[in-house]
């Protein structure tokens, strides 16, 4: 078992392209860490450097306490699932899964037991004597997964291991992988570009953009306290609404003015803004942090906004509503029991305790985020549905 530490790790490809400028990451032993980010943000590159498959241009990489910059992959005790599967086309599925064990001189009966076990978990016990070309894409991906999970390495590296499975199988495999992690207590680094998968799998999430770490934290931390606009927009679905705004002070109160509407900032956020000193920001509010206005006083800082409904996407329990306020489009999640129709006007209540402000330029760093004492998401939802009934 071992943690992983990257110190100022840089990756420049031979063609001169710098995929990672300088990465610092400390992954404790036994963690389940998810690397998430859009396509091309160097997730696979990072994994391959940990595996020793891509040379480290500069910096230091540790597995456990050992500096591994010059340690060949076979001595790093890692198992990896490749994004492209990379199955051995000339071997049967059985041999594909058993190959790593054979290379490590595992006794034959032991190999047989482990391969059977893994194929059971993956639901492909009856495919063992086929060749990779006789399998479907999803089955191939499961073989790639099997090749990793038969081994008991120091670290598991999974590069989008579930991307090609159908929704149902994916959910099942997620559970299997989590159980595997709990059983083996091995450090896992899991790459995905799917933020839902990241939220459900990881105890720690690392958000990457263009080879730079944007934020490291638990799923709820990233959700409530995103470090910048990119993380805020990447985590959560549907994505947070962003509206350019200016700050206005009137009668001792601080307002956010988007041009379309003007809402009052709660005291803690107003203080942050004053501290920052800027006038122009990006106002961020998640679709789930707004509701149809009602007479009753809410237990959070309210702000009221008029909008016109464009499109409604019903999902059963709730609906995604796309709205316009004076030319600005944004999305809200509204309880499905309300009767709404396109082109209707709607009056909304924003939960300003959960609103965000980001710097307008540079890295769009967060200036103010969810109030620490804000009712947690789950609480707020529960309270709401009780009230609604």
């Amino acid at each position: 078992m071992a943690g992983i530490k990257m110190v100022n790790v840089k990756k420049q490809y031979p063609n001169g392209f710098v995929a990672i400028e300088s990465m610092n990451l400390d992954i404790p032993d036994k963690e389940f860490v998810v690397l998430v980010g859009p396509s091309g943000c160097a997730k696979s590159t990072a994994l391959k450097m940990i595996a020793g498959l891509e040379e480290i241009t500069a910096g230091e990489m540790y597995i456990g306490d050992r500096l591994v910059n010059d340690v060949p992959p076979k001595d790093r005790e890692i198992a990896m699932v490749f994004q492209s599967y990379a199955l051995y086309p000339h071997m049967t599925i059985y041999d594909n899964i058993a190959f790593g064990l054979k290379m490590r001189k595992t006794p034959k009966e032991e190999i047989d037991k482990l391969v059977k076990e893994a194929s059971e978990i993956l639901g492909m016990a009856d495919l063992l004597d086929r060749k990779p070309r006789q399998l479907s894409g999803g089955q191939r991906q499961r073989v790639a997964l099997g090749r990793a999970i038969v081994r008991h390495p120091q670290v598991f590296l999974f590069d989008e291991p579930l991307s090609n499975l159908d929704a149902k199988l994916r959910v099942k495999m997620r559970t299997e992988l989590k159980q595997l992690h709990q059983r083996l207590q091995t450090t896992v680094i899991y790459v995905t570009h799917d933020q839902v998968e990241a939220m459900t799998m990881g105890s720690t999430i690392v958000v990457l953009k263009l080879g730079q770490i944007q934020q490291v934290g638990s799923p709820l931390e990233l959700y409530s306290f995103p470090a910048n606009r990119f993380v805020a927009g990447f985590i959560g679905s549907p994505s947070m609404n962003f509206l350019d705004c200016t700050i206005a002070e009137e009668n001792g109160a601080t307002y956010v003015d988007t041009g379309a509407f003007k809402v009052e900032l709660p005291a803690d956020k107003a203080a942050k803004v004053r501290e920052h000193g800027g006038r122009e920001f990006i106002f961020g509010i998640r679709p789930e942090d707004m509701r149809k206005r009602r007479e009753k006083q809410e237990n959070y800082s309210e702000a009221h906004v008029h909008a016109r409904i464009n499109v409604i996407e019903p999902l059963g329990k709730e609906m995604y509503v796309n709205m316009t306020a004076d030319g600005l489009d944004f999305m809200g999640i509204i309880n499905a029991r309300f009767q709404l129709a396109p082109q209707e006007d709607i009056e909304l209540t924003f939960n300003m305790d959960r609103a965000h402000l980001f710097e307008k330029d540079g890295d769009n760093r967060s200036v103010a985020h969810t109030a620490k004492n804000a009712t947690s998401l789950e609480d707020a939802r529960l309270a709401e549905s009780v009230d609604d009934d």
């Binding site: 031979p14 391959k48 595996a51 020793g52 498959l53 060949p72 992959p73 076979k74 890692i78 198992a79 990896m80 490749f82 994004q83 492209s84 599967y85 990379a86 199955l87 051995y88 086309p89 000339h90 190959f99 790593g100 290379m103 490590r104 060749k131 990779p132 070309r133 006789q134 399998l135 894409g137 191939r140 090749r147 090609n164």
Partner: protein, 278 residues
């Protein structure tokens, strides 16, 4: 779906192909036919389709003239050239396919330049040197020269096969506990063999068919089949001699036909089907 060709066009196609194949294959077919005939029948006019069969030309060529000796020489030379150039070609081709620096490009360009040179240029350069060293008329010498001629091509061809094997396959093997050599032997080569067979076939033909170099470097007991064959044609104009030449030519051609027929199904098969997504 493609639209069906009209019947008339299909017929025209077939007729054309038939005539074309007939034209191209006829000399070989005729050569094969007359090699089993006495000279009188072989060159009778008008030509006869059927005539008494005799094996006398083959007997004279193989046993009396000792063609078996030259066949043996050609076998040794061909297998030697094949082994050496495929071994070097696989190692170099694999290396070049995985190497990411800029030197690889220049190595390949230099190889291309050597490939482009007329073979006789090499001969001019080699022969006096071999003569001075006293190492001409030896198997090794001819093999070295044939490898030198053949190697640029095998490296290029094998490299392009290796390039088609995704690098992640190497990486998977490395993670699974192989070192570089084991990766090459256990994972890459087993996937590579359609490429090796295709390239091998071309190398084989080059060595087997070579006349220019072998006729210059080898003589007497060490002569190759092609060189010996030319003796029949150039020696004198007697019909009997010519018939021996025909029998020799047929003897040289038959193995080639079987070789190509046997390997044709491996030549076009896909290398890494099933290895990666898709």
């Amino acid at each position: 779906m493609l639209k069906q060709m009209p019947t008339s066009l299909k017929m025209a196609n077939r007729t054309f192909l038939f005539f074309w194949v007939f034209l191209a294959a006829f000399p070989f077919f005729w050569m094969f036919l007359i090699s089993f005939r006495s000279p009188v029948d072989a060159f009778s006019f008008p030509p006869k389709l059927f005539a008494p069969v005799t094996l006398e030309h083959f007997y004279t060529v193989w046993i009396v003239d000792g063609f078996w000796r030259q066949a043996l020489n050609t076998t040794v030379i061909t297998l030697g050239t094949l082994t050496v150039s495929l071994t070097i070609g696989c190692l170099a081709g694999y290396g070049l396919s995985r190497y990411r620096g800029s030197m690889g490009f220049w190595i390949l360009i230099i190889a291309l330049v050597f490939r482009a040179m007329p073979h006789v240029v090499m001969l001019v350069a080699y022969k006096p040197a071999f003569w001075a060293m006293g190492i001409w008329n030896r198997y090794e010498t001819l093999i070295i020269v044939l490898v030198a001629i053949n190697q640029p091509f095998t490296i290029w061809m094998l490299r392009s096969f290796f390039v088609n094997i995704p690098e992640e396959l190497d990486q998977a093997a490395l993670v699974d506990g192989c070192n570089r050599v084991q990766t090459f032997v256990k994972v890459i080569m087993p996937v590579m063999w359609p490429g090796v067979i295709t390239t091998g076939l071309f190398s084989f033909l080059l060595a087997y068919n070579d006349f220019l170099i072998s006729s210059q470097l080898m003589s007497g007991d060490h002569m190759t089949m092609t060189a010996a064959l030319s003796n029949y044609i150039f020696s004198d104009d007697s019909l009997a001699k010519l018939m021996h030449g025909v029998a020799g030519a047929v003897s040289i051609t038959i193995p080639l036909i079987f070789l190509v027929l046997f390997f044709q199904k491996y030549i076009v098969s896909g290398l890494t089907h099933g290895a990666v997504k898709g």
